[in-house]
């Protein structure tokens, strides 16, 4: 186990290294000068040169990378070009907001889809089951930001359950903050609910046809016993992959919903920082994202091992 973890940690470090290099090279490739961005189009050439100097942009790329990496490893992601503030103070807040949103959507997703999925598998072939499938297909076919608009229109404008754009900071009003996040979280979760339900239902059905299930029945176990002790455990593995994929997907994709609902999370910040060529901020956000993706994958792998010891043999 220790060896396994060690290996995973090493590979995580390699991934992070690869990501940071990718970002650095990308910024060298795309047009746009942070100094011009900061001083404006009227600035004198001397002032621009001075600004580039103070941003450390005059050094060759590898030197800049080593400088940045040395700082980053010590836990200092540098100073934002556009905010003159340490990136750390700047981002802590944003990650918290996005994570709250994503966690809430994830909880909604799990809380709604797992019971529904099992219920559906139990009633396979009923008209109810098939109608839900069709409904599910429709929710799945609605593009995320269209869903955001529809949710805003229905719950915000027509039913007046929340004030569109009325985001409140968690610092001033934690309850209001969570309440405001509910509908955005719902918009993220809804299309995925249908997918998860469908998948879970299919996996449970597939599993239920297996020999061991018949054996279990023949030994006189009750339906519920079989379902929960055997079928679900095995059916969960692909669902787990799917859910963990969804979790990382939600973080990467929350930018659209943040935009539609006016939530100042990391997504909007990433977009603004890329467009504003605020490299230290972009680096830090992407590294944070990568770390999150790696962490979720690691946890998923660990869970696999717990649920299905056979996975370990090959891994």
């Amino acid at each position: 186990m220790v060896r396994y973890l060690g290996k995973k940690l090493l590979s995580a470090a390699v991934t992070l290294f690869a990501v940071s290099v990718l970002v650095f090279v990308s910024f060298a490739l795309i047009p746009g000068d942070p100094a011009v961005r900061k001083l404006g189009t009227q600035a004198t050439p001397q002032a621009l040169e001075q600004m580039r100097e103070s941003m450390g942009l005059t050094a060759p790329l590898p030197v800049r990378y080593v400088r940045w990496a040395a700082q980053f490893i010590q836990g200092d992601p540098g100073i934002s070009y556009s905010y003159d503030m340490p990136v750390r103070t700047l981002l802590g807040d944003k990650f918290f907001v996005t994570m709250s949103l994503v966690l809430m959507s994830f909880l909604l997703l799990v809380a709604i889809s797992i019971p529904l999925g099992i219920a559906h598998a139990k009633r396979e072939g009923h008209l109810f089951d098939r109608l839900f499938l069709v409904l599910g297909q429709i929710t799945m076919s609605i593009p995320p930001f269209f869903m955001g608009i529809l949710v805003t229109l229905l719950f915000g404008i027509v039913l007046k359950l929340f004030v569109p754009g009325g985001y409140v900071s968690w610092k001033t009003d934690p309850a209001g903050f969570l309440l405001y996040l509910f509908f955005p979280a719902l918009s993220i979760a809804l299309p995925r609910v249908a997918m998860t339900v469908k998948l879970l239902r299919a996996e449970v059905l597939k599993e239920a046809e297996k020999d061991y299930v018949r054996t279990a029945y023949s030994r006189g176990n009750s339906t519920m016993m079989v379902l929960y002790r055997h079928v679900l455990k095995n059916a969960f593995i692909p669902v787990l992959t799917f859910l963990s994929m969804n979790l990382t997907d939600m973080v990467a994709g929350s930018v659209i919903i943040e935009q539609v609902f006016g939530i100042p999370g990391y997504g909007r910040f990433l977009l603004v920082s890329i467009l504003g060529r605020d490299y230290p901020v972009v680096e830090a956000i992407i590294m944070g994202l990568a770390a999150f993706v790696i962490l979720v994958n690691l946890l998923t792998d660990l869970l696999y091992r717990l649920l299905d010891p056979r996975v370990g043999e090959a891994g």
Partner: protein
Amino acid sequence: MRGRDRFVRAILPVIAMSVLAAALGGCAGGKTADDSSRITIGIPQDLDSLDPHYMTAAGTKEVLFNVFEGLVKPDQAGDLVPAVASDYAISEDASRYTFTLRDGIRFHDGSEVTTEDVVYSLERCKSAGVNPALDEIASISAPDDKTVEVALNTHDADFLCNLTCAIIPKSDADPGTNPIGTGPYRYVSRSPQENFVVTRFDDYWGTPAYIRDVTFKIEANADSIVMDLEGGSIDMYARVTSAQKDQLSDRFTVYTGAMNLVQALYLNHDFGPFADENVRKALCCLLDRQGVLDFVSDGEGSPIASSMYPAFSKYFLPELNDLYPTDVEKAKELLKAAGYDESHPLEFTITVASNYQQHVDTAQVLSEQFAKAGVRATIQTVEWNTWLSEVYTNRNYESTVVGVDASTLSASALLSRFRSDAGNNFTNYRNADYDAAYDRAAAATDDNDKTAAYKDCERILAEDAANVYIQDLPCFVALNKKFEGYVFYPLYVQDVALLKPAN
């Protein structure tokens, strides 16, 4: 019948969820505080810097206008009035500007403004390098504790407009995170990409503001402005489009003004075809300004035909608009003279920054209008920073639609960029007559001579068809009827101190 029953059961979970949502969200509704001593103003993007000497975005200046003041500052008529200075004098030869410090004026931190602070601020502003015009300053001195003198290297009667740069206390070590000024509002807090909060400064030297607490909220999603206004999360938005304006309910007053910029199809004169004046004139003849206005701004923009907008009434020449009436046949002749016809059509690319929908729309209309004479204009949208570096800085483009604004209250802010040797001459325009006319304007000390020379510059740009000038875009400000008193300035300024609760 059985089927319907099943259907009802199928949607039950959905209904249950909505009810749950309703229960949860119940307390979120009706939260609009009806307190008119506070106002929330939506702004399209975050402030680029809180340090007044380093701010460059128009969107930042218009907000920080409420926090910082210079020795002088612009008023609603476009004149410069004393602010931190109570009085000023300009020497006969316009090389020496003398300011008298206002009595008892204080910074937001309570300390008194001293001449030392003024000298420090002007010098800091100059060395920031954001406004190259300040390089004309030879020296800044304080002969006594009430007077500040600015001496220039040149003679420039228009220089006052550059002395609006903010006065800040010398003791403030970090103006970028702790902005202290002398304006009617003082800084409270800021949350990047979220909001910027100020409150009324009670020791303000001038007329105090009416509204106490002001929050500038960053509205990242331009498409949700109407919803946010109607939903009550913002009370005012100063960049409403004509489409959004039409969707607002009668709970809002819409003020109509101008954006004060020169929107044009700017042509790169180093791009082969545009070196030929016949081609440029042909494009001008193909332009139907009213057509563009109708499509892009519901007909509410002001047509213009040179690098000057109507708010500068002293310099603006409305007659230039009739120089090239729309005439497709004449355009075809001009194109023929330049060597283009149906078998060999004129082709070029319009590069346009995608974040400005009005410019993208304008480019699309232009492309249709040009097509009437067989001209093929392809549109290429790019993101703003790419535009800045590729088009504006590297001048690597054929033509572009953009709006150019004036950074200071002077005609030179609009006209100086077309001098052959100007560093910001992004159109590569070179014309000896123009340079001569501009030099005459710059050298003139008499205001009438100066104005006449500037007008010559405008005429040359129009007659030479330097660019395809289109319009000054309209600007619509939506204000909740709980408030009143919005006033337009001839510059990008949101003067919040004039807003007051409606009776």
